[in-house]
Point group: C3
Chain length 342, copies 3
């Protein structure tokens, strides 16, 4: 059998480090496609000149290009037989990615917990993305529910203790970043770090209806080849499930209107793909300010934000019902830190 | 309120200069996408070697990439609350755009005329695109009908006097351009400037059916985020209106067959988006030669062309009915100057 | 008449060399789009670092980017009036293509055979792709059935003698290629050249459902503008025929799962587009090992493979029926040589 059937729950061992295949060199081509796929308008990832005015050598590749590229590499080893993508934690961007850089990924198994039905279990991995100089650019914890394929003894459960959110001290601000000469006119909005209050909610107004061709182009671009995104004969209902990362990028781009100065994601505290997304859905987003922090970098503050993506029919600021469960129109609930000019 | 609701008619002042947000660095990625989105085959914008044989350092980015990028930047400030995009005039390409260049845009308000109903008015702006060296690459006048949001006094009407068409002396031929060694075989056709007669009409034969994913990829690529192009829940009929610039680029590319040597657009005399275009429409085009002019550059002539895009069901060379109004199958009527080898 | 109606059977002469129009400079943009359009994961065409570990200066552009670019240039001169694309033979990749290279194409007419009905004939051409240094990068023979437009004398039939398959000695291994330090982990599979046995068949498992927007983006990217791919009003059934090369690239990419180490195509022995492909079809693929050969390059072996693409409803390893004809679910039957680490 020459094809890869993917790993099953019983194939993972605590402490094991899996080197993921197919390193990828990124260029201005990936950036252009990112802008074609998502309504991204953050000035720092759009303009070399703007990035230079912020102390960087040029405009780096979007933080989520790095995330999707690394994530895509893990799919054949981690989630090919996943029943569900359960959560993220302790995600940190550790270094900028530039056109011409080559990324690879590796994951350490840090938790295993078989379900009581004996048919599946939860696998926790800490994934790192590395560039061609073996410098880390990204790390995050993800946990997925994976099917068992063989009857094997139940391993002792190991559940990692994960931070509910990263602290301000955990955040890595890119070397050289300096917002003291930040041009709010070119960035598109005047709201500074100090203008956002904890508890404040923002309805980002804009919406985008998703097409099959778009989410498949995106998902392939990150070399994420999970069948369920591409093959209309795979699910009984003939629908192609949209890669959760497509919704993340779409939601992040749509939050520009109200968060134009939220330039760089530096941490991913957590995230839930609350309901599946399909082509034809119209996605809108809202945000809530969860926390604020200072950083040591000149002119750079940090905001912890909740980003919620909903589809058509959602009530304003829809999130959870009285039962504490996500409402059916909610697609994504993301918790992240972002850098903002003070 | 942190989101941008856009400007209304009463928010504009004569003489005001609006600096538009989100500068954009362009690369080979945008060029590749342009070729994927439109059947563009002009040799000068396709091949470094061909461009070098025409006296340029390399192949610049397509003239309409520059136009769409600049136009897209103006949308949040000029046409977010526009009822209609009424016209263009005095458009000139002033400098070439190269991969790696960063474009920004600014617009001066040059006309204001409230409608008699007091509910809307026409705003005239002269928009300029500038590169990272603050060199102008493009300028054009556009006027749009914009809603009023508040009852305000009617301003004195100011309507700019605009040239019905640019004169040959107004055209800026890129420095170094030289068509004396022009390779007609590699360009794809043998027709020279002298082969086109004023009044001549050309049916360009080819047609393209438009998909939703395509026009949205294109429109996002230019960071034009007007809701009506993306959100199927925005209009009552559930249709997404296609960005007029998508039709312009599609029409220009389809005119290759018969105008393969019409290498560079240097002026936009006027243009009307005669009827809305929707996904599923099959676009075909025809051209009429309106004028001819010599230029001072070696081997370089200029043609003034009318480019008409029509959809399925149009009669040959369809344009206007007996009532002088555009026929319902006509999508675009564009008037421009282009450089052609003599 | 300024538009190109294309050549008809009577317009070709034995020995004539046709220089095709519109040279094309390729960049990282085309590579990024290739990865968005196809689930390509071959490490050599994905990563500069991996390619460098294989003795190359950087990652070249995918072998099929070169093929499609050259093929696209030939369409206006060879197949605009083609009734059918009948076959390929003696295809060889002769030099690597790098970002920044400019490709052009020329074709020599090497065979002509009028059909007995006098209404059409078969045209054989040997096409070469050349870079900006006039170095060949690719050559192949293609034959197509082309309509006659005028009653002309039937030419003496000339049918070239073509090799049923290229021999190992015909294969050109890129200078410097060295698989002795090949990293099987990063490549994604452990199967070496010696692990593949002649006669072995591999079901590649994965499937992709094709969208209209995708195949049109791809086909335009290669500047292949045959109407039948783009214009829904062209065929009576309102369907757009998918460019055969789109199926080739999709099939090749889908064969990664089981052939991850089949890094570079170096020869195309033959190929048949067995049945038309339309949007909505879900494509899956299987391979058969036809031959094995050693090469003089360190650590580099060659496999001759049959690659078969089928659509939904196909039986396992579907190919031909009892009548020797392709089954209706078979889209593509391709015969090629590929380089694999020993």
């Amino acid at each position: 059998m020459k094809t890869n059937a993917g790993r099953f729950f019983e194939d993972y061992r605590i402490g094991e480090v899996i080197a993921h295949a197919v390193p990828r060199t990124l260029s201005g081509g990936e950036r252009a496609l990112y802008h074609a796929l998502y309504p991204a308008r953050g000035a720092l990832y759009s303009s070399d000149a703007f990035a230079q005015s912020c102390g960087l050598a040029a405009s780096p590749l979007d933080d989520l290009i790095a995330f999707h590229t690394v994530f895509g590499k893990t799919v054949p080893d981690i989630s090919l037989n996943a029943v569900a993508n359960l959560g993220y934690a302790e995600g940190r961007w550790l270094g900028l990615v530039w056109p011409g850089d080559t990324l690879r990924a590796e994951s350490e198994v840090i938790g295993l917990k078989e379900n009581s039905n004996g048919k599946s279990g939860v696998v926790y991995v800490r994934t790192r993305g590395l560039n061609q100089h073996e410098q880390p650019v990204l790390e995050y914890v993800r946990w997925v529910m994976v099917r068992k394929n063989r009857a094997t003894p139940t391993p002792d459960p190991v559940v990692p203790v994960l931070k509910p959110a990263l602290a301000a001290a955990d955040l890595v601000v890119p070397a050289g970043l300096d917002f003291t000469r930040y041009d709010f006119t070119l960035a598109g909005e005047t709201h500074r770090w100090g203008d956002y209050a904890v508890g404040e909610k923002i309805d980002h107004v804009d919406g985008v209806t998703i097409e099959e061709a778009e989410h498949m182009l995106a998902t392939r671009l990150w070399q994420n080849t999970a069948k369920v995104h591409f093959d209309a004969t795979f699910r009984e209902d003939g629908k192609r499930l949209i890669y959760g990362g497509h919704v993340i990028s779409l939601a992040r781009a749509l939050s520009f209107n109200g968060l134009a100065n939220a330039q760089m994601i530096v941490a991913l505290n957590g995230g839930a793909h609350a309901n599946p997304c399909f082509a034809g859905d119209t996605v809108k987003v809202w945000s809530e300010v969860l926390d604020r922090a200072e950083t040591a970098a000149p002119g750079v503050g940090a905001l912890r934000l909740r980003l919620v993506a909903v589809k058509q029919g959602a009530a304003p600021f829809a999130l959870k019902g009285a039962d504490g469960k996500y409402l059916p129109e909610v697609l994504l609930d993301l918790d992240y830190w972002v850098l903002v000019p003070v």
